[in-house]
């Protein structure tokens, strides 16, 4: 059976002098397709790139942005590094926890939100900041964060 990520992977491979370099992009492709990197998804990447399974797994677990369990429909990535922390990011973690019943690293029971605590996401001048899926939200306050999150179902 032809792998679902094979076609896109061909374009990606062409960018590099060695096939192995396509491993990070391939993991992204698999993650986009399946929502997270299950053992099957990683095995598929291993077959496509002819890289040993254990190597694929080693690389996939090294990087923070690859997900190794099912995530919610929306992923909140909230920064708590220094510039965000001194402007109140910790309180925002509490608000999300209380309002949506989701712990850092976890997913709400209804599958609506996963919460990931991030290191700096490059929005320190408009701290505190978060990414929801791939959208930046900056200059967060205890009030506007709920309004923003209500926009994600």
């Amino acid at each position: 059976m032809k792998s679902q990520i094979a076609d896109e992977l061909e374009c990606v491979k062409a960018k590099y002098p060695a096939e192995r370099a396509a491993l990070l992009p391939a993991l992204y492709l698999a993650q986009r397709k399946y929502g997270w990197l299950s053992a099957e998804a990683m095995d598929e990447v291993s077959r496509e790139l002819r890289v040993p399974k254990a190597t694929v797994r080693g690389v996939a677990t090294f990087y923070a942005m690859y997900r190794h369990k099912q995530v919610g429909r929306n992923v909140i990535q909230l920064c708590t590094n220094v510039s965000c922390m001194i402007l109140g990011a910790e309180r925002l973690v509490d608000i999300i926890r209380e309002k949506y019943g989701v712990e850092p690293g976890g997913t709400s029971a209804d599958g609506r939100f996963s919460l990931v605590i991030m290191e700096c996401i490059g929005a320190c001048g408009t701290a505190p900041a978060m990414l929801v899926n791939t959208d930046f939200h900056e200059s967060l306050t205890q009030e506007n964060i709920v309004t923003i999150l209500e926009g994600y179902r």
Binding site: L24, F62, Y63, M65, T80, N81, I86, E119, C124, L131
Partner: protein
Amino acid sequence: MEKVLLANIDNPKSAEIGVYEASGGYDSLRKSLELAPDDIIETVKKANLRGRGGAGFPTGMKWMFASKDPKFPKYLVCNADEGEPGTFKDRPILEKNPHILIEGMAISGHALKAEFGYIYLRGEYPAAKGILEEAIRQAEAKGYIGDNMMGSGRNFKLAVHQGAGAYICGEETALIESLEGKKGHPRIKPPFPVNVGAWGMPTIVNNVETLSNMPFLMRVGPEAYAAIGSKECPGPKLFCVSGHVNKPGVYELPMGVTLREIIYDHCGGIKNGKTLKAVIPGGISTPVLPPDKIDCPMDFVNMPKHGSMLGSGAVIVMDESVCLVKVCLRALKFFEHESCGKCTPCRDGVSWLRQVLARIEGGEGRPGDIELLSEVAGNITGKTFCPLGDGAASVVLNFIKHFRDEFDMHIARKGCPIK
């Protein structure tokens, strides 16, 4: 000062190639393609351009090493990993002025006889990926890059490689490993990447801002460039200011502007009329400074003489309400999380520092803990594969050096005296 790196930034269409061309964009590339590669390297040396990624290494010298290596192909890699906490200076270039980077890379590629370029972009900048890829397509369609750039007979292929959330991949050898599809473990140096880099070939890694200086530098020439800002370390520089100032943001100012000028003249001083307590001048890995040490010229040569470093130009300003033990602990949590785990002094030492800081912050500090911190930090310094461990140790040592009282008080009063 005329804005160079942030030119057009207020134009909502600044990322489009037409807007860039209208203000002279790609003229420098046209001019540079008529020059011999070595002449461009000479120009960069004369201009005294230093790398903006954190270490301030002289760019012309790095390029000369790479250029002298007889192996081909050579690779030019733009470091757009921007992971140093507090840093958000490359983001406006990547998202709003992508063509200045592409033109800069094409000029640099010509100078280095590198036909392949990669932009190693951090995974946390998803919007920038689309913007850069579109800008590359536009530049290729116009014949500025790709095969036979502007009819010069030279080729330059450019692609974006997306990182996946690992701070250590900002370190150039870890970045190269990651580009090759591996874990981001730093390599032992030497050999240096300029000789043995990506896929074993000479590889030049430069920061986004460094490469983006090239169109302007080639347009005005080395003398005019070197006349901007500090004599020892000239040029325009991006400073990204966060924390308790009235006007945080990214500022383009001459190298050598003082920290005081940045905070009070450009950023409107401390918010809500409070007083300044501490500043981290160049991203979280650089030594913290107390308020009486902010008359330092912000450049790579002078900052070390004033007890800190320019780093990434990320100025984090903290007012009197901030608990510095907590800030130090948060910084160490970051380093512990981001240590790649390859070498023991960094992996175990940083974790140990974090644990001791956590108990001090939590009100369970013991007499002798500060000496313990100093000792552990001292045993990390100089004993690690890459500067991540050194950075973590120096953060702790400098917080203690300037703000020892606050640590003592946490231990004596079994908790934070500020609360």
